[in-house]
């Protein structure tokens, strides 16, 4: 046991001597590097690249066309041409092919978002209402496909949908069709692949917001004479709006720029902007046009995010 007051006994345990301003300086230095390292990385490898894309999108297309060394020519261009040129944008926006690709991408993404929401909401709701351990198990089963290779899951569908694949086999067996039908390389296959691949991105945020919902609210509604179906539309749905917005954002944005699924499952006439950018870049080697396409896509998506945020803010205000 301690005896009487140790404060006036002096200090057997020495506190460090005060060292003035030096530690504050060091702390400031540490603080700077904690911010500076990741910030610097993101500036260099994320922000600066955009400026370059922007710059190339206003460079002369003709000079960049030679497939041998487009870089060098672009270098000369930098010296020769200081003035900005919007011909690439004019070209992109005037060409019906590109415009159609943009519209088609937006349509495919919108339909995909809607379908994943329609399938994903009941799933997320069901999982969050499953009792005990099973809920965690089901949750993990939603997350698991996300962790298995995306490419391989798309590949699995290619096998399933092939002319001699199990789906055609089943349909033949049931007598619904008399000869194998073309399932792959159709819009149907693209939608299927998109919904399949993006479903977990919709379910996970929905699950998070439904699970947070205070169940006593539903009890209160039931107590006040509200039937379960009405309670769902009056209480559950509005209160999980945040999850719906998050899910739609996570599905729609990447879906607009999707490349792999239309490339593997779509037909040659399935025009999606991700694929067009890819082809302009790799097949046509037209960097300025590819850059211009990317910038236009970025502007459209930013506009969409801005709009969504505005809608969300309005919804928050309203209720």
């Amino acid at each position: 046991m301690l005896g009487c007051g140790f404060a006036d006994r002096g200090f057997p345990v020495n506190h460090r001597a005060f060292s003035g301003r030096w530690p504050r300086l060091r702390a400031e230095l540490g603080r700077r590097s904690v911010i500076g390292l990741p910030f610097g990385w993101l500036l260099l490898f994320f922000a600066v690249p955009f400026l370059i894309v922007l710059k190339i999108s206003v460079s002369n297309a003709v000079l960049a066309m030679p497939p041998v060394a487009p870089v060098l020519i672009w270098g000369h261009d930098r010296i020769l041409q200081i003035h900005v040129q919007f011909s690439n944008y004019a070209f992109v926006l005037a060409d019906r092919l590109y415009v159609a690709a943009f519209i088609n991408s937006l349509r495919v993404a919108a339909v995909t978002t809607l379908l994943t929401l329609l399938i994903g909401y009941p799933m997320a709701y069901g999982i969050s209402r499953t009792p005990g351990v099973w809920r965690n198990v089901l949750f993990m089963f939603v997350a698991l496909p996300f962790f298995t290779s995306f490419l391989l899951r798309v590949y699995a569908w290619i096998g399933l949908l092939g002319r001699s694949g199990p789906v055609n086999g089943l349909l033949l067996h049931l007598g619904l069709i008399h000869e194998p039908i073309q399932l792959l390389q159709t819009d149907f296959a693209v939608y299927l692949g998109m919904v399949y691949s993006y479903l977990p991105f919709m379910v996970l945020p929905l699950y998070a917001s439904i699970e947070k919902l205070d169940l006593t609210l539903l009890e209160a509604a039931a107590d006040l004479g509200c039937r379960p179906t009405r309670a769902f539309f009056a209480i559950t749905l509005p209160l999980t709006r945040e999850g719906i917005f998050a899910g739609c954002l996570l599905v729609f944005i990447p879906a607009v720029g999707e490349y792999v699924i239309p490339a593997l499952m779509g037909g040659p006439d399935t025009l999606m902007i991700g694929r067009v950018v890819w082809d302009e870049f790799f097949a046509n080697r037209d960097w300025p046009v590819a850059s211009a396409l990317a910038i236009v896509l970025l502007v459209i998506l930013s506009g969409f995010v801005f709009l969504l945020q505005k809608v969300q803010a309005q919804a928050e205000e309203a209720g």
């Binding site: 911010i35 490419l151 995010v305």
Partner: protein, 282 residues
């Protein structure tokens, strides 16, 4: 309220999970199929391990897998280190200059279409090479840089969420007891966010391991990752050894997830037991 699931919700659950798992199961089944026609079941010679043997004899695939593994491990580590710093800055330093821009930069790579990220990074590497001579051509190094950049955004979200729940007064208490800021971070903060750092690492690893679009933009002739190889194989037509590869990967991931789940359950049980000790300790 313990309400049973309505028939509609239940059937949607069953449908949804069937939809998610049907292709995966079909892949597993067909990986044992003897027929070279991927979609035709050869009931005479199946099941067979032929495709697995072919897979392990295929140097191209093994090399690509090795490269992918190396890139994923390095990218995940780099992304997690940078993400930890970024999350710390975002959560703990409430006000600093350019914070708004920093916030945008940390989340944007997540929502940006991959073609744009890939394209812009390639143009950067080309420009950098032109100005500074580095990087000399594209390859594993540029792929790794690209992967660190987009994995970082996801890792930040995971670590930031955890860090926000760590009571700030824990760090203050350590400082109050004489620990300098760096020591506080190493001894208090880091151990407390370690689970989140581990999940962020795993997530980054998977994202990097799985990436095809960004990789295709920034890779060079000498470096073909596993997804790139699979992609070109699939483009040429389906080949049954991919089924075997998929089955192995699904198996590995399942084991990882099952282990993670078991660990989570055990910590949960221990937490409950500790809470009981605490209430009985008055």
């Amino acid at each position: 309220m313990k309400s049973r699931l309505s028939p509609f919700v239940l059937s949607m659950l069953i449908f949804g999970f069937a939809f998610l798992y049907l292709p995966i199961f079909s892949m597993i089944v067909y990986s044992f199929n003897a027929s070279r026609m991927v979609t035709v079941w050869d009931s005479v010679h199946s099941p067979t391990l032929a495709w697995y043997l072919e897979l392990f004899g295929n140097d191209e695939i093994l090399e690509a897998a090795q490269l992918s593994f190396r890139i994923a491990a390095v990218s995940a580590t780099g992304a997690v280190i940078l993400a930890t710093l970024a999350a710390f800055a975002l959560v703990r330093y409430r006000r600093f200059r350019w914070r708004g821009l920093f916030g945008v930069l940390t989340t944007a790579p997540m929502v940006l279409p991959e073609v744009i990220t890939g394209l812009s990074l390639l143009l950067l590497f080309v420009a950098l090479e032109q100005w500074t001579g580095w990087p000399p051509g594209r390859g594993a190094a540029t792929i790794t840089i690209a992967h660190v950049t987009f994995c970082m955004a996801y890792a930040i979200v995971v670590i930031q969420a955890r860090l926000a729940t760590v009571d700030r007064s824990l760090e203050e208490a350590a400082m109050d007891l004489g620990a300098r800021p760096w020591k506080v971070f190493m001894v208090i903060t880091l151990p407390l966010i370690l689970p989140a750092i581990a999940s962020a690492w795993m997530l980054s690893f998977i994202l990097s391991w799985d990436d095809i679009v960004i990789t295709s933009f920034v890779s060079g002739p000498g470096s073909t990752t596993l997804p790139q190889l699979v992609f070109s194989k699939v483009r040429l037509g389906v080949s049954p050894d991919i089924n075997a590869l998929a089955t192995i990967l699904v198996g590995l991931v399942s084991v990882c997830v099952a282990v993670a789940g078991a660990v989570m359950m055990r910590t949960e049980r221990r937490r409950l037991r500790d809470a009981q000790i605490a209430t009985g300790a008055h």
